[in-house]
């Protein structure tokens, strides 16, 4: 067992019931820091519930969720969320704010100085490969879907959180932008070294970007490990099927 220090997020005996049966029951999971961890599974497997428990958008019925060793139920949810990056599928950029205002929103909520915000926005725009001069004062509707979600990622990074939650962030994008953003995310995290918890239903995406994959079904972990481990030793037929049978044929040649 790893020490608590290396765990960015830890679920201990977590249960959640929406009234129509348990989505999660006595769920345990440790997410190591500095890794891209993808949570994947068929719809309704509890992956989004899991993600939203980390920043208390959803409260567990039972059990504890620890973020960097601290029980989240004892933390102020607003403060907690400001310290965790959050990216959603629908992007959720504020249409009435410029790109600059959108990116700097969390630091502004935290009361940072204007000057520091300007420099930070510029740095982030460069980090995601968009020219600050060109994009800073534009509005979200003037950007393509892929550019908008890059801004979404930059916004999540703005307050320099150590953990970033991503809820199917690329699934509404066209295939070309999606593949590009996946690549950029991997490159980005080699530089920024965040713990990224990434929910997806796209197995190709999970295999491509993950350091660790958590495969869920009906609120249970079916298998967890690196993409190579899952491909080498699938735990059962469900894993094999979920990964795609043809992938194994390919590997077995």
């Amino acid at each position: 067992m790893m020490s608590d220090h290396a765990a960015a997020v830890e679920f201990k005996q977590v249960s959640k019931n929406y009234g129509s049966g348990y989505v999660l029951q006595n769920f345990d999971l440790i997410i190591q820091s500095g890794k891209i961890v993808t949570i994947i599974g068929p719809s309704g497997c509890g992956k989004t519930t899991l993600l939203k428990m980390i920043n208390r958008l959803i409260e567990p019925e039972d059990g504890t969720v620890l973020v960097e060793g601290k029980n989240v139920s004892g933390l102020d949810p607003v403060e907690l969320r400001r310290d965790i990056g959050y990216v959603i599928q629908q992007i959720g950029l504020f249409p009435h704010m410029t790109i600059e205002q959108n990116i700097s929103i969390v630091p502004r909520l935290k009361g940072e100085k204007k000057k520091a915000l300007l420099a930070r926005t510029e740095e982030l725009l460069q980090l995601i490969g968009l020219s600050p001069e060109q994009f800073r004062s534009r509005y979200p509707h003037e950007l393509s879907g892929g550019q908008q979600q890059r801004i979404g990622v930059a916004r999540a990074l703005a307050a320099n959180p150590s953990i970033i939650l991503m809820d199917e962030p690329f699934s509404a994008l066209d295939p070309i932008s999606r593949i590009q953003l996946q690549k950029e995310l991997i490159n980005l995290n080699e530089r920024v070294k965040k713990t990224i918890v990434f929910v997806t239903h796209d197995i190709d995406e999970a295999l491509k970007i993950a350091d660790q994959i958590v495969l869920l079904k009906d609120g249970q972990i079916i298998q967890t490990g690196s993409p190579a481990e899952l491909l080498d030793k699938p735990a059962n037929d469900f894993v094999r099927e979920f990964l795609g049978v043809e992938r194994f044929n390919q590997y077995s040649i």
Partner: protein, 216 residues
């Protein structure tokens, strides 16, 4: 024609005085209606089930003939400015309430989720996200109400609340077209001016990102 100008010249101070009263009546009523209906509209977005009942109840007021509503005020509050303002306010509630409710509920839920997930408090979501996005819809309600109230305020004369209606009714009882016009033209001018002013204000206040497109 000479007589026409002479009458206007003679009545000019009266026209000004009555226009002042008229603006006063309308402005106070619209302001009170905003102060009541905007917060209530916002609160109702959190209680969708209650919202229907409240909006239906308020729209019943709209079905009362205006002349009758002013009449109903007499036994309750007597005559004068106060009952007139209350009647005008009651008429003004629905459009503002409805537009506030529709505007705030119409804000894309993804934006609320993004805001909450980033650590905005409910107040911050309201002030930084919902109100700026819903503002032009709310403003449209206020504009409608301003125009409607200025027209309706002419009836306030029947319960001795003053305003340009005084001049119009006097003209009617004298069967004097010039006098009627002396009351009616300022009312129309007021409506046009207020409408243009509010339209301009809305344009100035609308952030660039929300202009010329209605996404989100």
């Amino acid at each position: 024609m000479d007589q026409f100008w002479n009458t206007i010249q003679a009545d000019w101070p009266l026209i000004l005085e009555k226009t002042g009263e008229h603006i006063n009546l309308s402005l106070i009523s619209v302001l009170i209606a905003c102060v009541i209906a905007i917060p209530v509209g916002i609160v109702l977005t959190a209680y969708k089930r209650l919202a229907n009942t409240v909006i239906t109840t308020v729209s019943v007021i709209q079905t009362i003939p205006s002349l009758a509503l002013f009449g109903f005020m007499i036994p309750i509050l007597g005559i004068g400015t106060k009952p007139a303002i209350i009647a005008l306010t009651l008429y003004a509630l629905l459009p503002i309430l409805q537009n506030t409710y529709v505007g705030i509920s119409g804000v894309n839920p993804a934006l609320i989720e993004a805001g909450t997930g980033m650590g905005m408090t409910r107040w911050q979501i309201l002030w930084m996200v919902q109100l700026p996005i819903a503002r032009s819809i709310i403003m449209a309600g206020v504009r409608l109400v301003a125009v409607q109230t200025i027209s309706l305020a002419t009836i306030a004369t029947y319960i001795a609340a003053g305003g340009l209606g005084d001049i119009i009714t006097r003209g009617i009882s004298m069967i004097n077209t010039t006098t009627i016009l002396e009351g009616a033209v300022p009312v129309s001018l007021l409506v046009i001016i207020v409408n243009v002013l509010l339209l301009g204000l809305n344009r100035v206040l609308t952030p660039k990102g929300l202009r010329q497109h209605t996404k989100n």
